[in-house]
Symmetry: C2
Subunit: 318 residues, 2 copies
C-alpha cells in the first residue's frame, strides 16, 4: 500500500505555493442555506489561477523537484482539461517546456487555456499511450494528473484553507474524478477536524472511484464515459488516491446526469460564481437527496473549477 500524505506534506506544500496560488474565498451563501436548511459555504476554486484547483498540485510537484535539484528538461501530461491548463500555466511561470495530451473532444475553453499559456498541445484518443511515447522520445517527465503524493499534498492546501474559514464543518462535499482533490482535502480535514464527514461525488456514468471501492482497488472503466461533468471522467483512479480515499473519505456517492445540469444553473444563480458542471456535483448531491445532513449542519461545497466558456453556457442554455 502506498504511503499516505500527512499534514507535514500539506504544510510544506502551502509554503511552496505562497504567492503563486490564490487563497480563494470560502463564502457563505444565504440562498443555498435557506433552501437546504444547512449553513452552506462554497470554496471558490473556480476563481483560482488557470480556472481550477489543479495549479495547487502542479506547482507543488514542480517546486519540490526544483528544491531537490531534480527539475526535468520538460514535463508531459494528459488531461481532459483542467490539469492541462494548470500544467501549461505553471510551467510557463517557471520556464519549463511542457507537452499536454488532450482528447479530441476536450472543452474549447480548456483547450484555449492551454494555448494561452503556451504549452505544446497534442490531441489523441490514447492519452496515456501518446504521453508516454512523447516522454520516451524527449526525455520528459510525467506530471501525473492525480496519482502522485506531491499532487495530493498540493491539493490538500484547499482543505487547510477552507478549515481556516470554517473550522469544523459537519459535511464537506468534493467532486471526484481521478480522486486527487478529495485525497488531499480529506487528509487535511481528518487531521484537523476528525468529526467532519468528507463525501465525494462522482457522475454515475463514470464511477471510477466507486468501482474501485467495490473491487478493493483501481480497475479500468469499461469504456470512456461522456458526462456533462467533463472533468470527472478519467479512465481509472490511481493507487494513491484509492489509498487516501479508503483511509479518510466517509462515502462516495454517484449522481445522475439529470441532477447535474439544474444544480449547475442553480449554483450560478445563487452564488454568482461561474462554475463548470463538474464543480456543481456537490450541490447536485444535496438537491437530489444523494446525501443527507442534520438540521443546521454546516456544509462546504468545494467548487473545483470554472472552465466553462460562454460557448459552453450557450450550448447548455439551449
Amino acid at each position: 500500500m502506498p504511503e499516505l500524505v500527512d499534514m507535514n506534506d500539506i504544510e510544506r506544500a502551502a509554503g511552496r505555493l505562497r504567492g503563486l496560488v490564490r487563497h480563494t474565498p470560502t463564502w457563505s451563501c444565504e440562498r443555498l442555506s435557506e433552501q437546504t436548511g444547512a449553513r452552506v459555504f462554497v470554496k471558490a476554486e473556480n476563481l483560482q489561477h488557470a480556472g481550477s484547483f489543479k495549479v495547487r498540485g502542479t506547482f507543488n510537484t514542480l517546486l519540490s523537484w526544483r528544491e531537490c535539484g531534480d527539475l526535468p528538461s520538460g514535463v508531459a501530461t494528459f488531461s481532459a482539461g483542467n490539469h492541462a491548463a494548470a500544467v501549461a500555466y505553471a510551467t510557463s511561470r517557471l520556464g519549463i517546456p511542457a507537452v499536454v495530451c488532450m482528447p479530441p473532444g476536450a472543452v474549447a475553453s480548456k483547450v484555449a487555456a492551454v494555448r494561452r499559456y503556451g504549452a505544446e498541445l497534442v490531441f489523441t484518443e490514447d492519452l496515456p499511450g501518446t504521453c508516454h511515447q512523447i516522454m520516451a522520445e524527449r526525455g520528459y517527465r510525467l506530471l501525473h494528473p492525480f496519482d502522485d503524493p506531491l499532487v495530493i499534498a498540493g491539493h490538500g492546501t484547499a482543505g487547510t484553507e477552507l478549515l481556516a474559514k470554517v473550522p469544523t464543518p459537519d459535511l464537506v462535499l468534493v467532486p471526484v474524478g481521478g480522486g486527487g482533490l478529495i485525497s488531499g482535502i480529506a487528509t487535511a480535514i481528518k487531521a484537523r477536524s476528525p468529526v467532519t464527514r468528507v463525501v465525494g461525488v462522482e457522475p454515475a456514468v463514470s464511477p471510477a472511484v466507486s468501482l474501485a471501492l467495490r473491487h478493493g482497488g483501481p480497475v479500468p472503466l469499461p469504456g470512456h464515459a461522456i458526462s456533462i461533468a467533463d472533468g470527472l471522467c478519467p479512465p481509472f483512479t490511481g493507487d494513491r488516491p484509492f489509498a487516501h480515499i479508503q483511509a479518510f473519505v466517509d462515502e462516495v456517492v454517484e449522481i445522475s446526469e439529470e441532477a447535474i445540469l439544474p444544480a449547475w444553473w442553480h449554483l450560478l444563480d445563487a452564488t454568482k460564481l461561474l462554475a463548470e458542471p463538474s464543480a456543481a456535483v456537490g450541490l447536485a448531491a444535496m438537491l437530489s437527496d444523494a446525501v443527507s445532513w442534520p438540521a443546521d449542519a454546516t456544509v462546504v461545497l468545494v467548487v473545483s473549477g470554472g472552465n466553462t466558456s460562454p460557448d459552453g453556457l450557450r450550448r447548455l442554455a439551449q
Copy 2:
C-alpha cells in the same frame, strides 16, 4: 447647490455597515490585463448581499434614521430592481415594513429577490407617482434609490474598500444609472487618491447624467429607454448625484448596446463572475475604446451587481 458628502460621512457609513454588508473582493484579472495592456482589477459587488452595491446606501439610510430615533413606520421606494431587492433585504433584516414599486417589465430575478425577502410589491408604470401615493396613504417614508446624501455616503464605502486593495489606481470605471454609486465612489477616491481618474459609463440609449451635464442640471429623459443594461435606465438623475458628479467625476462616457453584450460574456468568461449586463459597461467602455488609459495603467472595474437569473442568461445566449 446641495451640500456634498465628505469622508466623515463615508467613514460613519462604514461603521454602521459593519457586519451587515460584505467587504466584497477586489480581484486582479490576468486575462483582462493581458488583453487590455492595463492591470485590471474588478470590485465584485455582484457578490454583495441581495446581489448588488445597493444595500450599502440602503442600510446606511435606515441605520442613520434609527440612530436619530427617527425610524418611520414603514418605507416605500421605486426601482427597476436592485434597489428594490436591497430595500426588501435591509428592511427584512431590521424588521421594518416596506413597499416596493417596480415596472411591469422588471427582470424576473430582481422581482424574485424582492419576493424572497418579503417586501410588498406593486407593479406600476408610474413609479414615483404610485410610490408617493402609497406614502401619503400609509405615512411611509421614501427611501430614494439615488438622490439622498445618506445613500451616496453608503455607496461611498465601496470606494474606500477598493482603495484599501488598490491604493492609487490610474482609472476607475463605474456604471452610471441615477448616479448614486459613482457619486459615493468618486467622493471617496478624490479625497484619498486625487490623481485617480473616475469615469462613469452609461448606456447611450439612456444618458440621464450626460444629458444633465450638457444642460447644466437634471432633466427628464424624453421617454423610457430600454437597454440590455436594465439597471441603468432611470427616468432622470437627481440634484445630489449631479452635484457630486460635477465636483468629483472626470468624465461620463456613453456606450452602445452593441458593446455591452460581448463585454458581459467576456467578463463572465474571464473572471468567472456572473455580473448583470449593467455591471459590464465599464469593460464595454475599455473594449470599445470609449475610454483610454496609459500603458501599464492600473484600472478598477466596478462590477456593480449580479442579478441576472439563468432565464436572463438563456435569453442572452440565444
